[in-house]
Symmetry: C2
Subunit: 372 residues, 2 copies
């Protein structure tokens, strides 16, 4: 792209009322604006624009409804105590966005343009970033196929959008371990499939197992590999880590596991602390043996929503394994505190992970003024 | 449902111009009307209605865009020489629709209501059924999640729709064999996944491999199983059959293969003709061995779009296998002629497969009159 595209801004005239910060939940309220950009095969990506949050108008034959050609990303913006707005490693999300695009035969998107759009969108909706402890602004970039045609082939037209949602504290009463069901019947994906892409179908494939696990009192499922049904892959929509005899293990990226940005950051932190961390293939049998021998010290999921989600109990083929007496382990807590602290600007950022949204404060002020 | 829901009809005032029947293609033109029905967790399925074909208005957070909770069906209506409208085994599609719903955690739909809706919709758009040889009206029922919320869980709201598209002859110049690439890197799905459901993600997962195969001059890929990468599953979005030494083989329904209605009908026809037909696990090695020994007499895909798609050549790990000198085999041709004949009402229907859309002719006349 020789000439960078100019992002236009159409401001909302009727601002929505903001929800109480103690009732935000996750992903149910949305800000006043959104970003859109269109793709047509003959024009490429074009017309990047910030517009009031509004419904999408789509032909019922749009390919996204029929053939699922869509990908997404998820990241958060945090407001620091001194009023700065920070993004956590957004470049990693945009790189993964394009890796997902490539896997799903969706045309590549200019990462610099999207980062610029994201910053501008946050600046416009600056007053939507919640301020209470633990809250944040969840950001959802996504792409979907819009060509109205029923043949199974990559679409000629797409839309890229960014929507944003103020979200509540994941742990309003402190980090809380969960019970996890080890799934033996259903699988999420398999090597050679789209497991490492952040695409809708991977999540659809997991709904049934999740529903059954919930009925039985479990928060999430732990997915085993689709080939042998023995190697650990992910937990719910998070990556997963196990501390065994002082060493932290996480399944290696084999093509069917999502390359999580929180996962990557946890590995960095552990190495920084000189705590042994190993990415390797890991079977559920080995894990249970370690647990029964008393060597499994901690287990936790990692992801953007929770940062760290300690696992207090596993259930595999009717055999329960309680981990660390069902309590949050010291390392889990330390990782949570550190990563959350870096993200919220209360702890120094040794890895240069946080990106400040420049000029957001002044824009926020003018935006707030225009609200009065 | 004790009290059947009443389907309302709002007729289009501005009818579209109909495309020339020799330029229909597949799935690019749509009729004047569509059917919609809504689901809300507190109301169930409600407000079934036929309305003018129009865009869908969806919140950008609607779950279909993010988590792919959507399923579809595909079937055809045919106009006979004596002016009757026939549907091919629609009850099978509606049964499969609900099996797909169940797998994707989507609430069950009243099959009798949908069949009634389908008949009424066809009657309203009767004048859209093309009349040229080989043409038909393709019907696409589909369901998608509409709840505007970013949590990964089954939606509380859905829409069910039926859209219809007049489609051209698949073989305007006679049945034509295709070249197929045997896919060794990518997989479509795996046992324990959603392979037997007709859901968008299965098609998204296949786009990349299909694109690469097309670049190399192949029409479609032949999918191998995701576990051993050796057992034959499907070809493109069709089921697949092989005639070896007089016996016809097709992969058995193992949970990762779509239970095709054309597949089922072909098996019925073969049994009716006393031609040995076997559903079993079938490896690509065995197939190549049979081919090289001269025992592989015919190969063909089966599906709603093509009915029968003969395979003239396979390419697996750079080894080509030409089948029946690249020509359409006698059995493939006979199956195509018979099944197409039954569908179009030119051959008697020994299995009672065809469902006539009652009252369609009179409605069509009044509909056509109202057009003038």
């Amino acid at each position: 792209m020789v000439q960078p595209l100019e992002i236009t801004i159409e401001r909302s005239v009727n601002k929505k009322e903001k929800p109480p910060e103690d009732q935000l939940g996750f992903g149910t309220y949305f800000t006043d604006h959104m970003f859109i950009m269109d793709y047509a095969i003959e024009k490429g990506w074009h017309q990047p624009r910030i517009v009031p949050y509004q419904p999408i108008l789509l032909d019922p034959a749009a390919k996204v409804f029929h053939y699922g050609q869509t990908i997404f990303e998820g990241l958060k913006a945090y407001l620091t105590d001194d009023g700065r707005t920070l993004l956590f490693r957004p470049q990693k999300n945009l790189q993964r966005l394009n890796r997902s695009n490539e896997r799903l035969s969706i045309p590549e998107i200019d990462e610099a343009l999207v980062l610029d759009a994201l910053k501008q969108l946050i600046a416009v909706d600056q007053d939507w970033i919640p301020t209470e402890a633990g809250t944040s602004l969840y950001i959802r970039p996504f792409v979907f196929a819009t060509q109205p045609a029923l043949g199974v082939s990559p679409s000629t037209h797409y839309q890229f959008m960014i929507i944003m949602s103020p979200v509540g504290a994941y742990y309003p009463e402190g980090v809380n371990p969960v019970k996890i069901f080890v799934e033996s019947e259903y699988v999420r994906t398999v090597i050679g499939g789209v497991g490492e892409a952040k695409t809708a179908g991977n999540y659809a494939a997991g709904l049934k197992a999740q529903e059954i696990a919930k009925e039985q009192g479990y928060s999430q499922v732990l997915w085993l590999d689709g080939i042998h049904r023995k190697y650990i892959e992910e937990v719910g929509s998070m990556n997963v880590f196990f501390k065994i005899k002082g060493t932290v293990y996480t399944p290696s990226l084999n093509g069917s596991i999502l390359d999580g940005i929180t996962r990557n950051s946890i590995i960095h932190l552990l190495k920084h602390w000189n705590i042994p961390v190993v990415e390797q293939i890991l079977s559920i049998e080995e894990l249970y043996e370690a647990g029964k021998a008393g060597f499994l010290e901690e287990a936790f999921g990692t992801g953007t929503a929770a940062v760290i989600s300690p696992i207090g109990e596993l259930s595999w083929c009717d055999e329960k394994l309680v981990i660390n007496q069902g309590q949050t382990g010291d390392l889990s807590q330390r990782l949570y505190d550190t990563l959350s602290g870096i993200q919220r600007g209360t702890i120094s950022d040794p890895f240069d992970w946080m990106l400040e949204v420049e000029g957001s404060a002044p824009v926020a002020v003018s935006s707030k003024n225009s609200n009065l």
